[in-house]
């Protein structure tokens, strides 16, 4: 197995150690997070009658799926030691552009989706390129992107009614099921990317020790640009699914999504400091967060209190990460 800490739900079976060992190893990596999810789910299961239905479970997955698609990209970027605060705004730009392509230009959905994904990838790649060329820290470059892309989305959308899209497009957002399937497909592909491709597996080395990676002949700058590009691409895909689900596009969507994504990634156990993590962990983190949100809603706790709860959990998750690093 390649990265000792990378395999989670998406594993690499058939290693010489045996598939069972691999499963066991993966389980050891994530059992704490799984236990936390089970505890939280159990808590709400006991506390709230309507929470117990299967529909609730399905809606947790369904509501998690759009953010989870975006968070898969965040996982790649964070593992490589990067940070992209602008993905929520990329989400807004892509949502609006895809809306314009279909509602105003009358482009066929397939083309609109393709161009939208390209737009997301290009904006992500721009973040990466600026960092690599200027050496300005990721936090600053993507903070700039956060507001600049938001402004771009507002300019593009102003005075336009972006709604009522073709049926074939709206299919992408059908119920909880289709977004959920897209989420699992994206997670699977992201997992394969991180564990089974050269570019993806190098994210762990770059995030662990950039200088070692460079001295080992890894093209660090180029790789980083690709990671940000994928982050932007997946933000775009998440936006497309949401626009299809809502049947309208507006620049206010996507706000704070980058923070929720980072929260889910970190809650799942991917290191905020790079070099460790996996996409399976991110899904678990996202389910934990969504379970808390849905559970608290069912108990009649308002959204403002939910935010406070999520904020507290983020701090606990990062504290845990810091603590784990110091004891190794």
């Amino acid at each position: 197995m390649s990265q000792a800490d990378s395999q989670t739900a998406v594993s690499s079976p058939g290693s010489s150690a045996g598939a069972l060992d691999v499963l066991k190893h993966n389980f050891m990596q994530i059992w704490q997070v799984l236990a936390a999810l089970a505890l939280i789910y159990g808590f709400f299961f006991l506390m709230s009658e309507p929470f117990r239905s299967f529909d609730t479970l399905l809606s947790i997955f369904g509501q998690a799926s759009i953010l989870a698609i975006l968070a898969c990209g965040t996982t790649i970027v964070l593992i490589s030691g990067g940070l992209d605060l602008s993905v929520g705004s990329i989400f807004a730009v892509v949502g609006v552009t895809v809306g314009i392509f279909m509602a105003e230009w009358g482009l066929p959905p397939v083309l609109a989706v393709g161009l939208g994904l390209g737009m997301g990838a290009a904006l992500g790649a721009l973040n990466g390129t600026i960092q690599v060329l200027t050496k300005v820290p990721a936090f600053i470059v993507t903070l700039g992107g956060l507001t600049a892309y938001k402004g771009l989305a507002e300019i593009l959308a102003s005075g336009r009614d972006l709604s009522r899209f073709p049926e074939s497009f709206k299919f992408l957002g059908t119920g909880n099921t289709v977004p959920m399937l897209i989420m699992f497909a994206v997670a699977l592909l992201t997992g394969l990317f991180l564990t089974k491709t050269r570019l993806g597996s190098r994210a762990f080395a770059i995030g662990g020790n950039e200088e070692v990676a460079r001295l080992s002949g890894v093209p660090v700058a180029k790789s980083r640009i690709y990671y940000y590009m994928l982050g932007g691409l997946l933000a775009g895909l998440a936006a497309i699914v949401e626009v299809a689900k809502l049947n309208f596009a507006m620049p206010a969507r996507g706000q704070s999504y980058e923070l929720y994504a980072i929260a889910a990634v970190v809650i799942g156990g991917t290191s905020l400091f790079g070099g460790r993590g996996g996409v399976g962990k991110t899904l678990l983190g996202m389910f934990i967060m969504q379970t808390i949100i849905v559970g608290l809603s069912y108990m009649g706790v308002g959204t403002s209190y939910q935010r406070i709860a999520i904020g507290a959990i983020i701090i606990v998750a990062v504290y845990w990460d810091v603590w784990r690093r110091s004891t190794r």
Binding site: M1, R202, F204, N209, L215
Partner: protein
């Protein structure tokens, strides 16, 4: 026959400080050349120019009688130059196989990373270099200094280095592990590798090297065959910056 490596009139400055000043040095196949000098004498900087980590301001590098262009670690690799760095050897968060193949991952015919084969190859080479090495699946941060060093050395050996650069290879090691590295250097030398060795330990260098070169303040004081000099001669070169062989 042309030497394996010839570095001619190499200079590099960092912000006005002349770290390496018009230094020339050569290395033959099957030869171990030791670089000695105080901290900041320029040995590591000189060697990092050969390994592609730094770009020289002026000078030439010739390999096997051909002028070489080395501007990145990748270039160095293409000339079969492998470096074992004192501190920056391994990515702590990765296991032995991932470190061994970092930047040169083995892939399946479809282009996917072939973990099984990398692990098997790592097992094979580690069995040869360090039979006690068992922790193949743990991040290398969990390994002892000697085990880490053997992973770093395995990387050089596996990829058939012709020119090996070792920066303080035994600094973090115990007595037994140091002896193991010394044996390995003799073994690689027999196989015809040229080795640049950097160390502070003059006695160790006298035992391991064919020639020792002393640097001070970025300049080359002299390079002598170990049988032609005493340990005191070397020490006076390091401290006084004068070559008694030349003065005599």
């Amino acid at each position: 026959m042309a030497p394996l490596v010839e570095m001619k009139n190499i200079s590099i400055a960092f912000g006005g400080v002349q770290a390496v000043d018009d230094v020339s040095i050569s290395l033959e196949a099957g030869e171990v050349v030791g670089l000695l000098g105080h901290n900041g004498a320029g040995k590591s900087t000189l060697i990092k120019i050969l390994s592609g980590a730094y770009k020289m301001d002026s000078g030439e590098i010739w390999i096997d009688g051909q002028k070489a262009q080395i501007t990145s670690p990748r270039d160095a690799r293409d000339y079969n130059i492998e470096t074992i760095y004192q501190t920056l050897a391994l990515a702590d968060n990765l296991d032995a196989a991932s470190n061994l193949f970092l930047g040169r991952e083995l892939t399946t015919p479809l282009g996917f990373v072939d973990d099984d084969r990398m692990e098997a190859e790592t097992r094979k080479i580690m069995a040869r270099l360090n039979p006690n090495f068992k922790k193949l699946k743990e991040p290398v941060s969990a390994l002892s200094g000697g085990q880490r060093q053997s992973v770093a050395i395995a990387r050089a050996v596996y990829f058939n280095a012709k020119i090996l650069i070792m920066d303080e290879p035994t600094a973090a090691l115990g007595v037994h592990e140091t002896a193991m590295v010394a044996d390995l250097i003799q073994e690689l030398k027999k196989q015809g590798l040229g080795i640049f060795l950097i160390s502070h330990d003059t006695r160790e260098m006298m035992e391991l090297c064919d020639r020792v070169a002393v640097m001070k303040n970025g300049r080359m004081i002299g390079a002598e065959r170990v049988e032609d000099v005493t340990e005191d001669d070397i020490l006076s070169m390091i401290i006084l910056g004068k070559n008694p062989k030349v003065a005599a």
